[in-house]
């Protein structure tokens, strides 16, 4: 194959999606972080659906909020935990637009549990994407609702003890139980296969919204090497060996009608 041909294929397979703003991830995120991969998956899904011009991204507080600059789409950044509320309103104002959120597990499941439950209960026609890295990333690695049992964090220095700190929250399974939800899935970015799977989950979730069916949700297991005190490579293993057994990947709900 000619050099030129190889370059074309490389661009097709690994090229930067046009909706991903160049040079933003490099100075925002720590080495080995999976947030840029999720941003990329979102950008690819939007491009494949041709929805970049009609997409509105909504972000809260935490490392996920930096996505506001990474994606070349209209975006709103607001208070901690509130993206489902903001997305709800934007979708009501512009029903024909694709409105989605990207939040961390703390933003959505802890401080943001109230807007999450509200949006689920009202069956809002929006898409929620949640990164699960089992810690609070921006603030320095404190316990999150998703922290694993025994996991050492800066607020569980002896490891998460269920007697005092309870158990990990399983968002994708929980959200799938709501009648207003048409899609709920969990993916990961720890290898190329899981990345492709996750990208397709996100794309499906967007398609469900554009059909006007109900709420769609995708959780993504996401590495946080800095706060896990691990190398990026060890972080991939930790996702495979520790996180996926606790948080199994797959679709927990995929339906085309709510009743």
């Amino acid at each position: 194959m000619s050099q030129e041909g190889k370059a074309v294929i490389r661009e097709m397979v690994a090229g930067r999606p046009k909706l991903l703003v160049p040079q933003t991830a490099a100075f925002v995120y720590c080495p080995g972080c999976h947030q840029p991969l999720v941003a990329r998956a979102v950008a690819e899904a939007l491009e494949e659906l041709g929805m970049g011009d009609r997409a509105i991204g909504v972000f809260g507080i935490g490392c996920s909020s930096f996505l506001v600059g990474m994606l070349d789409i209209d975006a709103v950044n607001g208070p901690h935990g509130r993206p489902p509320d903001m997305a709800t309103a934007i979708k009501h104002i512009y029903p024909d637009n694709l409105v989605f959120t990207v939040q961390g597990d703390g933003d959505l499941l802890s401080i943001g549990a109230d807007p999450l439950l509200g949006a689920l209960t009202r069956a809002e026609k929006i898409t929620l994407i949640m990164l699960n890295n089992a810690v609070y990333g921006t603030t320095g690695g404190q316990m999150a609702p998703t922290s694993l049992l025994g996991q050492r964090t800066t607020t569980t220095p002896e490891g998460r003890d269920p007697a005092s700190a309870g158990f990990p929250t399983h968002a994708a399974e929980l959200i799938a139980t709501f009648k207003g939800v048409v899609y709920s899935a969990r993916g990961a970015c720890n290898n190329p296969y899981n990345y492709q799977l996750t990208r397709n989950y996100i794309k499906t979730a967007f398609e469900k919204q554009m059909k006007g069916l109900g709420l769609s949700f995708v959780e993504v297991l996401s590495a946080c090497p800095s706060n896990w005190r691990m190398s990026p490579l060890d972080s991939l293993k930790w996702i495979e060996e520790k996180m996926i057994p606790e948080f199994p990947l797959g679709e927990f709900k995929n339906t085309d009608r709510i009743e």
Binding site: N77, H92, I93, G118
Partner: protein
């Protein structure tokens, strides 16, 4: 086109919002503002506009944030405890420079308080209410008609300054039923909302819009102080341009009452009763609680007037009046402790205010009145 209706203040706010072009209302039940939320639930969907009952006041105000970011004229309403819950996001909106209208139909506090009338949210409304440096314009209606008119003004001012505007009502003004002329008021053009998100396809230049609430990585401003300088200029401009108040029988007044909302109506009656006894009483009724009419009060203080503040709280606005008077005259207070009965249904009534006026007048006579002191 004007239509006369016999409606309560809470409903008049709804009509005012509708003719002002409000596109969306998000609300959560709380007494004594329920008639507002119910009005929008009834009138907005049938008019093709957005109504969502939120899961909490946090939900309401953050939906307002989202709709405002999308460029819509949007509002919510609440009362005391719900108002407190909204403050974080109102601070974020001041930073993000998002226009919106928030109604606080005051009830008693602190805490759960009684669910009936009071005027205890003055400090929280006029000093921003949330964290950080910002101010909101605060409009205080004293009649059903003003509920309708000031709501329209609120939307205009919010868009003009890209800032939240507060309507501070109370349970009595909210539930008082009066004849209202529902008429559209033209305040002139407002800046267009080219900054709002609607999807890139919605912008003429096809470029993305970002609405954000901090001066971090993708900040609108080169640095933090640039943002603060702009907010500071906005605050100063509002102070210079937006002070509104009503003067009642002020021409020759030497004893000046200061009151807003329901107690302003009580104070007005007390002025009439005083005038009948040849006491030169007058009333300054702030319509904007922030920016506060300091100058109008200061001018009278320089001429030697005395002041009597009437407010249904332990005394909040009285501090602004003292600030304006600068120690040049006496400032007395008729407060929530002077209610006619000590229950949540008790009110400050004109005879109580009149008694205080007579007391002050008698002391004035004894000391001798010195104009221009």
């Amino acid at each position: 086109m004007a239509e006369r209706m016999f409606i309560e203040g809470n409903e008049a706010i709804g009509w005012g919002a509708k003719i002002a072009g409000c596109q969306a209302f998000f609300g959560y039940p709380i007494t004594p503002q329920n008639e507002i939320t119910e009005w929008f639930a009834r009138e907005f969907p049938r008019a093709g506009r957005v109504f969502v009952q939120s899961q909490s006041e946090l939900g309401s105000i953050n939906m307002v944030y989202g709709a405002a970011a999308a460029g819509a004229r949007v509002m919510t309403s609440t009362s005391g405890p719900g108002w407190s819950l909204m403050q974080e996001t109102m601070s974020h909106m001041a930073n993000a420079e998002l226009p919106c209208v928030v109604v606080d139909v005051q009830r008693g506090g602190p805490g759960g308080g009684p669910i009936r009338h009071a005027q205890q949210d003055y400090f929280q409304c006029t000093r921003g209410g949330g964290h950080g440096d910002y101010r909101n314009i605060v409009l205080a209606p004293a009649s059903s008609q003003e509920c309708c008119d000031l709501t329209q003004l609120a939307f205009y001012l919010a868009d003009k300054y890209r800032n939240p505007v507060v309507i501070l009502s109370d349970a009595i003004i909210g539930r008082l039923r009066e004849i209202v002329e529902v008429r559209e008021i033209d305040f002139g053009p407002v800046p267009n909302k080219d900054w709002a998100v609607k999807g890139k396809a919605g912008h003429k230049d096809g470029r993305r819009r970002i609405v954000e609430h901090s001066s971090d990585l993708f900040g609108r401003d080169p640095d933090y102080v640039t943002l603060l300088r702009r907010l500071s200029q906005k605050i100063r401009q509002m102070q210079e341009s937006e002070v509104r108040y009503e003067s009642y029988r002020m021409e020759d007044a030497t004893l000046i009452l200061v009151a807003f909302g329901y107690t302003a109506r009580v104070a007005k009656e007390a002025v009439n009763l005083s005038r009948a006894q040849n006491i030169k009483a007058g009333l300054i009724r702030p319509i904007t609680l922030w920016p506060f009419p300091y100058e109008a009060i200061r001018e009278k203080a320089h001429q030697g007037a005395q002041f009597l503040v009437v407010e249904d709280s332990l005394g909040q606005m009285v501090e602004d009046v003292r600030f304006a008077v600068e120690g040049r005259g006496e400032v007395q207070l008729v407060s929530i402790l002077d209610r006619h009965i000590p229950t949540d249904g008790g009110m400050i009534l004109p005879d109580k205010v009149l008694a205080k006026i007579l007391e002050m007048y008698a002391a004035q006579e004894t000391k001798g009145y010195e104009p221009g002191r």
